[in-house]
Amino acid sequence: MTTITVEVPSVLASTLDGQRSLQVPLPEDRTVGSILDALGERYPLFARRVRDERGAVRRYVNIFVGPDNIRRLQGLDSTVSEGQDVLIMQSVAGG
């Protein structure tokens, strides 16, 4: 089974049993959406932090596949290749 690495900021670690880096199976369709769906089933609070109840990625949350923000790719349909990491970060926002 192929796995990939998902990394999250420290503020989300408490929603993932304290983990900031997780090895997760690469789903059959290889999409970011499916990766988040699988994580969300196990960690519902994590899911709610990253996506709203429509399933959309929250406005000030950025998800990168390798160096690329999925908003510049195919959004949640963006695919992840073996060896690539998924990085979740909060955007620069606030005042």
Partner: protein
């Protein structure tokens, strides 16, 4: 399953002589405690840097539950609660308030949290953005969308006030659980007489001077409504421009602004036991939105707004900060009711004698968005 988000050593609530105040701000929540409501101890921040536009203190069911609507600009809005005076906080993993999938809508902000009467334990109301009412029957741990208002045919014509489009005031009728009033900006006052199944606009007499027709059926920018303590059909409304009272559950509103230095404002408070006793905090017109002449005062009436008297003892002569709608509260102290409010300048004031004099509880906090206070019920930790 609940998850504690933070733990902070706090107050020892081991008797019922203590009053606790929750202060939600633009960047965190503070708690204050007092045994005489004159000298206060401030603790916080909780949820540092997160917006807390709504708080409630529910003293029913033999405990003191603090509820907070917390808005994390990155990670979304949520409702948290504490049953131990803020030592620990919990939130349902699935989220207390969320829109059903078929609405294709996401919760943006929790504007108002309102425990119902003592006779309806467990019932808590929430007014939210986008314009919606949610109801909990388990003391705020899970809420359900009110479909009657969500599916209302007027929805497409409701607008957004400067702060967003939300239900910001909910007034359940103390005598009849089927009667509920809710107010929104902008849309005005709506009333349900069937427990929330259907809603009708009830704005006759409330001016909307930003429309060509100043007395529309709906569309008013009502800033806050509250119910009278004794007369179930009497409610009060602080409007965008105008202060009103209805004596027939909203069928007709009449101005009670005479005697006030301005008819703009956000706050309206009603005594928890004495009918006709109310408070408001006037602000100078929509274009300025600060205390008239910089003199921060509360205005008090004991005859349902027919006449008003200024309460200024202990308040600044020069303060140019507004007081927002949920940033003011009364407690239910059995002897003399306390009056509380905070300003956008981060000052918080408390009165233990129904507004006759105020003391400063906090200064230089972030903008105060929500304030509630209650005498502690039941032992805490």
């Amino acid at each position: 399953m609940n998850q504690a988000r933070c733990g902070v050593a706090l107050f020892a609530m081991d008797n019922d002589q203590r009053t606790i105040m929750a202060i939600g701000t633009k960047k965190g929540l503070w708690l204050a405690e007092s045994t005489d409501r004159e000298t206060w101890t401030l603790n916080g921040p909780h949820f540092l840097n997160l917006e807390v536009p709504s708080v409630a203190i529910d003293t029913r069911e033999g405990r003191t539950r603090i509820l907070a609507g917390v808005n994390d600009w990155h990670w979304g809005p949520t409702v948290v609660y504490s049953d131990d005076a803020g030592a620990t906080w919990s939130e349902p993993e699935q989220g207390a308030i969320k829109f059903p999938a078929d609405t294709d809508t996401a919760l943006a902000r929790i504007w108002h949290l309102r425990p119902d009467t003592a006779e309806r334990p467990g019932v808590v109301w929430a007014g939210c953005e986008p314009i919606s009412v949610f109801k909990s029957t388990d003391s705020g741990e899970n809420f359900e969308l009110n479909r009657g208002l969500w599916d209302h045919p007027h929805r497409s014509e409701w607008g957004a006030g400067f702060g967003g489009a939300a239900v910001h005031s909910i007034a359940p009728n103390a005598a009849d659980e089927n009667v509920i009033h809710a107010a929104m900006s902008t849309g005005g006052v709506y009333r349900s007489t069937d427990g929330g199944t259907s809603w009708e606009p009830r704005n006759h007499g409330i001016k909307a001077d930003f429309f060509p027709e100043p007395f529309p059926e709906f569309g008013q920018c009502v800033h806050h409504i509250t119910a009278d303590a004794e007369d179930a059909d009497r409610l009060y409304a602080q409007n965008h421009g105008g202060v009103y009272r209805t004596d027939d559950a909203g069928d007709q509103w009449n101005s009670i602004a005479d005697g006030l230095p301005a008819d703009f404002g956000f706050v309206f408070l009603s005594h928890p036991r004495t009918g006709g006793t109310v408070w408001t905090i006037p602000l100078k017109a929509a274009e300025e939105r600060n205390p008239v002449g910089g003199r921060l005062s509360v205005y008090h009436s004991t005859n349902a707004g027919d006449t008003w008297s200024e309460q200024h003892a202990g308040l600044p002569d020069a303060d140019w900060n507004a007081v927002l709608r949920d940033a003011a509260a009364v407690d239910e102290h059995p002897e003399t009711v306390g009056v509380y409010f905070g300003t956008r300048g981060g000052e918080v004031f408390a009165s233990n004698d129904e507004g006759a004099h105020f003391v400063t509880v906090a200064q230089r906090l972030p903008d105060v968005l929500s304030v509630r206070a209650a005498q502690v019920n039941g032992a805490g930790q």
